[in-house]
Symmetry: C2
Subunit: 329 residues, 2 copies
């Protein structure tokens, strides 16, 4: 409850964040509010927060935290078929440290520019507790075109982008649960980086918008998130475990003590997109994905069932997943 | 970093927040994102977070916290001349307690309905640290009509809504710094309530939009916030201390040890609006304020000066304010 001079927050904002506020709607961060000019588009709004010790490790570097905080939101926009329009940032800090803020702001600015998602405003607050970064991001879609979770239909293909499970393995490495196991340094770095800096699939947003009947980003584990998409759509799905796309390092770890398929499909932090694509759109979707240079894999089918999605092993037998995903509560 | 079953967050959302998500753009909180349908209006975006032990006291009741978290954002929308369109909520909780969440959600829903500002989405995260409530709120204005900080012109009147300094006194009471001093129980309750539950001036938003050349809400102290408005507008102001509107309980405390005028004009948490009104708009503004049933006081004038705003005492002498406002850093 102790308050010091007002200049503290203003100085901090002026020094680190005003240089990023190049969008006219940010008013150079001197106003109380930001402006998203009407454009005839609907606005998609998504908000995701990350907390030190819960969603990231206390020693994670500030530049990767900035990117992760923004990218987990960009990933939601991509899954909804939206084009980024900007974001607001709430930063809860224990202390004001140049050493932390300078690389944080620099990386945030780089990602904002790279993804065309400018900072529009924010709030910087003091906390006696863990560092917390909360971002609310906005995207534009033509009226009525947001891709929802609840449109999947029996017969649609289930597709996922990129590779699944890398981030869960990266987290295990950082926590010392995977040591050695024949993993070379570049592979370790790759998996750690997949945990620290997700690759949101915004390049695929228009293809998703044009072709997907339902989509969401995979943040809490493929199995659990797919179950949510199916529940929202009142359908089920059959997934071939062998078709779930894995990176080379993840493949190398498969079967070792530290990494079974269940870990990979329920591990979380993937920030890939899972979507349902009607069969008659599949070829166009794949062509658009190739154009966008985003890897897409067909992993199964939507079924008319109301049960939980089934994961089949290579012999076609259902795999009993002990857990589908994780929660922080 | 420990994660438990995914159902935790989903259950919590389903139980407490889904019943509030009546707006179609919220999709019943089952999607990753919310939708603000295009309406031809610009969207004003504001974000404000409150942290336990910094912006509120650990024993503040959950229902007043819900109202405060939303209202500090509504206050920004009012000052910008915007009509509320909805909000997203990030809630960082140490534990999931029915005893806390039930009244929190109930009060949030009541205020959302009362102010026409529906919940659209959010993120609920676990934290080992202090409770934190971060809200990003949206408001609509006709294109180009957002009231900014930087439009004040020399000769404009400076107006404030409501009364100033009550919340600062309420906080002092809660912290035990004002004990007795002849204050009766209803007066104490009034001041405490002014700290805990701000009264955002959304009823005045259209009048502000139609008549103000610049406006902002008073959150960090009238003196400091007015200085910011003047700096943004590249003007100064002369304020008559005696014209600053005070409540009866604040008047009663004035001159006692615990409360001088400086405390009141620099104390923060007022969530009133300070605005600049061109002289030729004054009568219409006052008429509109009366119509809206919001008290408005003329407290001074904008001057062409570049210096900091001056506060004059009853004899016309400048008062030297040791501090203009507070910051948490």
């Amino acid at each position: 409850m102790d308050r010091q001079m007002a200049s503290g927050e203003d100085d901090l904002i002026a020094r680190y964040f005003r240089p990023l506020a190049t969008d006219p709607g940010a008013f150079g961060l001197i106003d109380d509010a930001a402006l998203l000019k009407q454009s005839g588009d609907d606005l998609v709004v998504t908000t995701d927060a990350i907390v030190e010790g819960v969603h990231f490790l206390p020693n994670d570097p500030p530049d990767t935290l900035a990117r992760k905080a923004l990218r987990v939101n960009l990933s939601d926009l991509a899954a909804k078929g939206a084009v980024p329009a900007g974001f607001v940032l709430t930063l809860a800090l224990r202390e004001v440290s140049d050493e932390w803020l300078a690389p944080f702001a620099r990386a945030l600015g780089e990602d904002a520019a790279a993804f065309g998602c400018p900072v529009l405003g924010g709030d910087t607050v003091s906390t006696p507790g863990p560092l917390m970064i909360s971002i609310t991001a906005f995207g534009r879609v033509p009226p009525g075109k947001m891709v929802r979770r609840d449109g999947a239909k029996a017969g649609d293909r289930i597709a996922v982008t990129g590779t699944i499970g890398d981030a869960a393995l990266g987290l295990r490495i950082l926590k010392g649960r995977i040591a050695g196991e024949g993993l070379d340094a570049p592979s370790r770095d790759f998996l750690v980086q997949r945990y620290r800096v997700p690759q949101p699939r915004n390049a695929l947003a228009l293809a998703i918008r044009d072709h997907a009947s339902a989509a969401m980003d995979v943040s809490d584990g493929l199995a659990g998130d797919l179950a949510k998409l199916c529940a929202a759509s009142r359908v089920s799905a059959v997934i071939e475990m062998a078709a779930v796309p894995l990176s080379v390092p993840a493949h190398a770890l498969l079967g070792k003590e530290s990494a079974d398929l269940e870990t990979l499909v329920s591990g979380g932090d993937d920030y890939e997109v899972v979507c349902a694509i009607p069969e008659n759109r599949w070829d166009s979707f794949i062509a658009a994905a190739r154009q966008a240079d985003v890897q897409v894999s067909s992993i199964g089918r939507v079924t008319a069932d109301a049960a939980a999605p089934q994961f089949l092993d290579a012999t076609g037998k259902p795999v009993a997943l002990k857990r589908l995903s994780y929660s922080h509560f």
